[in-house]
Symmetry: C2
Subunit: 327 residues, 2 copies
Amino acid sequence: MPASIENWAGQIRSGEVRALSRAVSAIENHAPEAEELLREIFPYTGRAYRIGITGAPGTGKSTLVDRLASQYRIERKTVGIIAVDPSSPFTGGAILGDRIRMQGHAADCGIFIRSMATRGFLGGLAQAAGDAALLLDAAGKQMILLETVGVGQGEIEVVRFADCTVVVLTPGMGDDIQNLKAGLMEIGDILVLNKFDREGAQRFEQQLTAILQIAPERDGWKPPIVRTVATEGKGIEEFAQQIALFREYFDRPERRRARELSYWKQWLLRLLQASLLERVGRHIDEAQLEALATEVAGRRKDPYSAVTEMIADSGMADKLDQAGANS
Amino acid sequence: MPASIENWAGQIRSGEVRALSRAVSAIENHAPEAEELLREIFPYTGRAYRIGITGAPGTGKSTLVDRLASQYRIERKTVGIIAVDPSSPFTGGAILGDRIRMQGHAADCGIFIRSMATRGFLGGLAQAAGDAALLLDAAGKQMILLETVGVGQGEIEVVRFADCTVVVLTPGMGDDIQNLKAGLMEIGDILVLNKFDREGAQRFEQQLTAILQIAPERDGWKPPIVRTVATEGKGIEEFAQQIALFREYFDRPERRRARELSYWKQWLLRLLQASLLERVGRHIDEAQLEALATEVAGRRKDPYSAVTEMIADSGMADKLDQAGANS
């Protein structure tokens, strides 16, 4: 372990903002030192409570997250916020957003806010956000808020790995059939109905309640619906209370152990996949890829045969099959 | 090639609805015969024009897609619609949705509508939708509309592989900073401002125009903004015209060739990844995974070391490195 990494890890553990920021950037950029650092801080993690907050654009997630953070600061808890932005077109936007948001918490060293943008390999999003949460955990942040724009598969992975998952909805998006199928209810431990002062809020709440009737319970927990108007700070205390209730409900040792084990199994599988894909990526024969793509584009070869050829040439198939036979 | 697959492929090529439906299901379920079938029909693909349509829930995508399909039917073009629903909690919802939507096009054999729900491996979404598009292409559908709920990473992959990508926005979602960062502008060849009869539509259009000023052009194409009220059929002709203009713009042989080659290179890489992950999945040692996850949960081992161990034990690393050295 190089002294500098050890030093860096020490700074993170004492909550130094610059060291934390630099570490989040290292994760974003897949820098090789990121993994070393994460190995170093890992033994000091496991104390924070991670809350994943998701919903469609325009539901007011950022405001809600900021208000919840303020509520936790009133309760004298330290807070870390990771806002995952899967597809920011102009990185300047995210940084500007951080600055605007930080103004509300200026000079409060008990709170850390950071946007992350990740690209490249699929699955990288959830892994990067999880790694950042480990950093904040080691830095002693008690409540970690993972906020994600969008309602897609990758985004759902981000919040699914949290201890508690919150889905934010707003009235006025309830008219479409597709909205009811959007799958948000399936992952939400708590549903927030933000902008509850809007027209049609009560009708939308009735629809939601009806859907929740037929949704499967998880371990006996029925997701509550919390009404908020985040811009006016309304309903935030109730929101924090529901999170506390959920936390308490799952805080029994056997439930906690089962959740932790399933969490790490999934995490290891994800890490294994990412690691293998990265290795494969390093060994792609660009000339072969170009030649095969040309043949496929001309319909002289189908893509499935082309990929079988690539795998056969690399010898990876044999080895995998052999590994399977040995195990 | 078994006679039944050949037969099935023949039915698909003559556009038989049941054969098509059965094939889409085979793709959804990762059935082994799906790949055989796709190999068989592949030489007959490459004639359809694929339009990807995405946007947040509640923007009215389904209605817009239905109206666009009707417009194409007026123009005597055959249409295939694939509505990708990444996270449908109750599969019944999707099927119900299909039935409701089909009523509008009842007894028109020139149109095929199908919802798809895929789970499991990351990246499966885009691949499954692309495979379904190949089927519709071979079935002689001239215009293929790929519709996806959500704005996530996986969803963006679905539409990114289309020939033309449309992003649907609505007024009233323009107040948030995060909305402007949502990255939709970056992938849209055409922007549709649906529900243009809503309050604040003009102001939102001005904001969009301002953002587009600083967005990078692609091959000299500036994404137009199309105003629609899909529920009333307003703006649909203009929408179809803008798609036609875009298609014409990129229809020059050299542009087309470059796009096709880059398309298939990415497609092959995705297929290669999926294929490798599937092989790895088959060879996971469950007992080892469980034991390692337990150690990680207890902070006795860090997840990065655990994964390194799994890869070393399987022998995959050696083989990959060896393959790399040989190439």
